[in-house]
């Protein structure tokens, strides 16, 4: 053990429930805090610094929450599937916990994506909803998230529940390319890709900085939320163990 690479040793330590509890308790507030500050700066820029769009007016400012939420909805699902795959293959309990902690956060971001898209769609498209490929596939993603959450809570044994829900998460990954390319594969009311990580975006550069802040902020916030939710699940699974009683008695 003493010859082990420090990074690998740290991963082994993190798998210990008491160690993970201390780690999550320490770092979750930082994720929330720094994420909130970065997002606050992004929202300030989105609402007060960038000029109104010449066609959409101020309604385009909704994209500064719609786009980061949409990216998060896909990223969190991919991460949930990755954790689930690791948990299913190597039976690592912490990965089960992390995978299941992803689900409510991803569902919330998906719901925000749909709600803000709908709010933007009413003045721009003249309708709250359309059975458009992008909108419909995003709605299916929300149902998949709800399916994972429901399955995890429908089975009493936590480990069996996580394996079943993790399998659904893995199957659901098929939806991610469908959502991503839905605006390319089908005639869609939803606009095509305007923002590219690699290559030039078709959005004016003066409008980009708040979006970048929001994209970074949502990821930091997610890290905080993931740790906090995983900590709660870890404590529930470890209920009755001495370390939980000692820690609770210490006035945490």
């Amino acid at each position: 053990m003493s010859d082990m690479n420090p990074v690998i040793r740290w991963f082994h330590q993190l798998g210990s429930p008491p160690y993970f509890d201390r780690f999550a308790a320490r770092w979750a507030p930082w994720g929330y805090g720094v994420g909130a500050v970065v997002m606050a700066w992004g929202v300030y820029g989105a609402l007060f610094q960038v000029p109104a769009d010449y066609q959409q007016g101020d309604s385009f400012r909704i994209l500064y929450i719609h786009v980061p939420a949409a990216w998060m909805s896909l990223l969190v699902f991919a991460l949930m599937a990755l954790y689930s795959a690791i948990a299913l293959i190597w039976r690592i309990k912490l990965c089960e916990i992390l995978a299941m902690a992803c689900a409510p956060i991803g569902a919330a971001f998906t719901a925000v994506t749909l709600a803000t898209g709908s709010i933007w769609g009413k003045p721009m498209w003249g309708t709250w909803w359309d059975w458009d490929p992008r909108l419909t596939s995003q709605l299916v993603l929300l149902f998949l998230y709800l399916g994972v959450i429901g399955l995890y809570h429908a089975i009493d044994d936590r480990r069996t529940a996580a394996r079943a829900a993790g399998l659904l998460a893995l199957v659901g990954v098929v939806m991610l390319p469908v959502i991503r390319y839905s605006v390319v594969w089908w005639n869609s009311l939803h606009q095509g890709q305007t923002i590219r990580v690699f290559g030039e975006s078709s959005m004016d550069p003066s409008m980009l900085p708040p979006l970048v802040w929001m994209l970074v902020g949502t990821k930091l916030w997610f890290a905080g939320s993931l740790l906090a939710r995983a900590r709660a699940d870890n404590l529930q699974r470890e209920a009755g163990k001495d370390w939980v009683r000692r820690m609770a008695g210490a006035g945490t």
Partner: protein
């Protein structure tokens, strides 16, 4: 600002989601710690040396 109501509604939805995402795990952790303290109190209230012979003698 044009479309002010729509912009406010969208940002309000986002703020509500963030508030929920912050509070829900905090409440869940507090619930687990409360349950752990209750369990510790119950165990502390038990007599230190239970009469095992009586239990086994039934």
């Amino acid at each position: 600002m044009s479309y002010r109501e729509y912009v406010i509604a969208a940002y309000a939805v986002f703020a509500v989601m963030l508030a929920w995402d912050y509070l829900a795990p905090r409440f869940a952790i507090a619930r687990q710690l409360r349950a752990a303290r209750r369990l510790a109190a119950r165990r502390a209230a038990r007599p230190d040396t239970p009469d095992r012979s009586t239990e086994l003698g039934r």
